[in-house]
Symmetry: C2
Subunit: 217 residues, 2 copies
DNA sequence: GTCTATATTGTGATAGAC
DNA sequence: GTCTATCACAATATAGAC
């Protein structure tokens, strides 16, 4: 029923109207991200896209394939949106703060969290999808951050023995304190929420102090 | 179809065999955690538990209710297993290391991650379940860690302006670098995995340096 | 290609014997 | 309470007209 999905970026225009393909993908994406794979029917998708169910099947051979294509689409956006411009390296604190804000803006955005939700949920059933997701998003992002730390090492502005680990730490120092409350939509009454600015500032401080060049220990 | 679930710890022995209740819950728990709510049928659960489907319905009035009870069960285990004994406070580094190891052992265990997977996946459909989960697990754990940092403040061994934030940071400094690779079962080839000991040691270092008492900045 | 109407399978839930 | 056999329905997928 699954497990044999190809991952071309989706070949358009074999006679099909691109506008409808787009509408179907967008509707499916929103529904899947909000409600998950199992809870969404092809009828709902067709209705939300303003087409008939048969048309959906003319564009995508199965629900599995539509789901896979939607994730692929999201990953492309992920890979693009997640790459901030790291031009200015003169002020490390400023650069780290910029990166931290980018992490908050993108990795904690509802759309990104929706993709995470559905990838985590359906990962066991779609192993190839997990790999495609990792390679399109987290992996290049982690690499880019590691390169930032390596550059700081060369300049002597930081002392980072394991840049990959430091990249993960920075991501999760920002993301972690806000992750649960956002991906689970926790009510304010239940869970005292964290202040975004404080999370960002503190994360930058932790990295600066933890990897300060004049370490005596 | 959902949204009105009560959350008593499940009243047993209204004539039902406790052993079968247990078998059903265990089978359902494992299947739900591994495959998610939608992908598991009541037939599968009955077969895995070694009973008939009608028996499952004699013990649990619906699939929703069975799911909710299973999550509740998992949360109790969560609340118990997650609370380490924080007796010795003389050596802060040793205490932090012990806590960090506990985080790795419990919050990254397959069973815990399975509960997270299914909670994240079905959260939007079961809001009450999310609250119950938060109050049974993450909330008391965060509070306990925050109290640890407050105690360290009083002793002067650490200087932590926001103990709740610090608690989140410690959790995610350990959990974050290992989270994706474990909850998504990423293959070694795709994602260079982190070394557990290094993650733990570095997390403790970050906290110690970031919240050292003699801060000059 | 796109629609309406339909075939078919799987699944949540139940009736009735013991 | 537990089983076998069955219902009722929803959802994936398709046939056939245009």
């Amino acid at each position: 029923m699954s497990s044999a999905l190809a991952f071309e970026p989706f070949a358009p225009s074999a006679g099909r109207r691109p506008e409808k393909t787009e509408a179907i993908l967008e509707a499916a994406g929103q529904l899947f991200r909000e409600q998950g794979y199992g809870a969404v029917s092809m009828d709902q998708i067709a209705r939300a896209a303003g087409v008939s169910k048969a048309t959906v099947y003319a564009h995508f051979e199965s629900k599995d394939r539509l789901f896979a294509t939607m994730i692929q689409n999201g990953c492309s956006a992920y890979a693009q949106g997640v790459m901030p411009a790291l031009t200015d390296m003169t002020d490390v604190r400023a650069a780290l703060t910029e990166i931290a804000r980018g992490i908050e803006r993108f990795l904690l955005a509802p759309k990104t969290l929706g993709i995470y939700r559905v990838i985590i949920a359906e990962g066991p059933r779609f192993p190839e999808l997990v790999n495609a997701f990792i390679e399109a998003g987290p992996l290049p992002f982690r690499k880019m951050l590691a390169e930032f730390f390596e550059a700081a090492n060369r300049r002597g502005t930081l002392n980072v023995p394991n840049p990959i680990l430091a990249a993960n730490q920075l991501v999760w120092l920002v993301r972690g304190p806000l992750y649960l409350e956002r991906i689970l939509n926790i009510s304010e009454a239940t869970w005292a929420k964290q202040d975004v600015e404080e999370v960002v500032t503190s994360a930058v401080n932790m990295i600066m102090k933890g990897y300060a060049p004049e370490t005596r220990d």
